[in-house]
């Protein structure tokens, strides 16, 4: 992922030791460990920033450390992967000694964009794309190991790259990180990945159907018509009942018919 950083801003970045960076990255994987409906990601943000905050003058026993950790563990919401941008930027702001009011305002402003961009890029784009591409491979007859390995490797290359990029970008830009959110991958990525995922959907559904049905190909024409009708019904019922609940009802009815008859 390319950064749109002004070179001066990067040049001025203080060094964040490799060990501290690794500790933060590892903790980022557990950022949602204490997720709750009151502070959402808040405690996780404090948890991830803690290794960096230890570098405040006076270390973990200083009033500055306690004040910063208390501030950063309050309510926060963002996409879990892009929260790394906030963790990096807020750590830099705290270690640079920015005024607490400025940090609070920045924290509030950052949450929204990191949530919406992450949702569109990852949950509505990258995850369905990787899943559907793997389903297409499955439909083409790939081995179990190949299907699983392709899915996990492809997905996690993007996942980890996003977390690492976010932490580095946040740290390098500090309170000016908003400029980095104009990165082409974040701006145009969701649309491009959306198109690729739509293509993968079209390829994957019939192929996956074919492999699961297996030798019962005589049903294929009827199944394809049923799928088209079923999809139409599910789209029409959107907002009233979710498709997976409807599936449970349909399949439970099939079980009842099959065991009572």
């Amino acid at each position: 992922m390319t950064s749109t950083t002004a070179p001066a801003a990067i040049a001025a970045s203080p060094e964040l030791p490799f060990g501290t960076r690794c500790a933060m990255l590892l903790r980022l994987l557990a950022i949602q460990g204490a997720w709750n409906y009151e502070t959402l990601l808040g405690n996780g943000i404090g948890f991830c920033m803690e290794p960096a905050l230890r570098r405040l003058p006076g270390g973990v026993h200083s009033p500055e450390f306690h004040a910063a950790l208390a501030r950063e563990s309050r309510y926060f919401n963002a996409h879990p992967y892009l929260a790394s941008v906030a963790v990096g930027a807020l750590s830099r702001a705290e270690l640079d000694g920015e005024p607490p009011e400025r940090i609070e305002r920045f924290r509030t402003a950052l949450a929204g964009p990191l949530g919406s961009v992450g949702d569109r890029l990852v949950w509505a784009g990258w995850l369905p794309f990787c899943s559907l591409a793997s389903l297409a491979l499955f439909g083409l007859g790939a081995s179990t190991l190949t299907v699983i390995a392709v899915f996990l490797v492809m997905y996690n290359v993007g996942h980890l790259a996003l977390r690492i990029w976010g932490l580095n970008t946040g740290w390098n830009h500090g309170l000016r990180v908003a400029t980095a959110l104009g990165n082409p991958v974040l701006r145009r990525g969701p649309q491009q990945i959306g198109r690729a995922a739509a293509l993968a959907t079209g390829i994957a559904i019939p192929l996956a159907l074919g492999r699961v049905i297996g030798s019962s190909r005589s049903f294929m024409g009827g199944v394809l018509v049923a799928v088209a009708l079923g999809s139409f019904v599910i789209v029409r019922l959107q907002g009233r009942i979710e498709g997976w609940r409807l599936s449970l009802i349909v399949l439970a009815a099939l079980v009842l018919i099959s065991v009572i008859r």
Binding site: N43, A124, P128, S258, R261
Partner: protein, 228 residues
Amino acid sequence: MIALDVVPVALLGGVLGLDVVSFPQAMISRPLVAATLGGALIGRPSSGLLLGAALELIALETLPFGASRYPEWGSASVVGGVIFASHPEAAQGAAMTMGMVSALATTLVGGWTMVKLRQLNAVWARKRRAGLEAGSRGTVIELQLMGMTADFVRGAALTAIAFLLLMPIATACVAIWSTDLRLSRAIVVATAASVAGGAAWKLFHSTAGARLFFVGGLALGLFMLFAT
């Protein structure tokens, strides 16, 4: 079914339940992977993959957006994968239906347990408010570790209970199954693909050009299906 059979299934369900939200969200909890691992426990990963693929089509509809409430697929897919893979291939249509129903029922309860866990996390955070406001390092780390441990226990307990309850029911139903097995399998997969079709429309209909890409992909997919 002896208790020892449940232990590896429950442990796998715990680990994959943890992956859904708490740690590390590497998507080993997606049905495609989780059901395959469940099948691998029985020595039949390819059977697990078959059920995982059908479940994955359904799971495309429920992606973990923000603070929304969504089903928990990790533990549920392990239950479904193990149940499906435990039955002989000759009864695949019936076993697949029972595996799917078991997984979907478990995911329904799993989503509810996740909501309860999040409420519990809030209670724990409230009780430790003084420590949090004082910026106590111990409190912040303790909350995180408690949340993750509870999530693992939640996933493991859910998997164990669902497996112990649903496995005998599935076995009994498969034994007296009367619907044609090929038709059963076709109904399962058509239902799953219908949900995937609806989910795809929901995800991509607002993306410029996506419909064209979908139609192109569909033409290619159908060509490959009937050409092979």
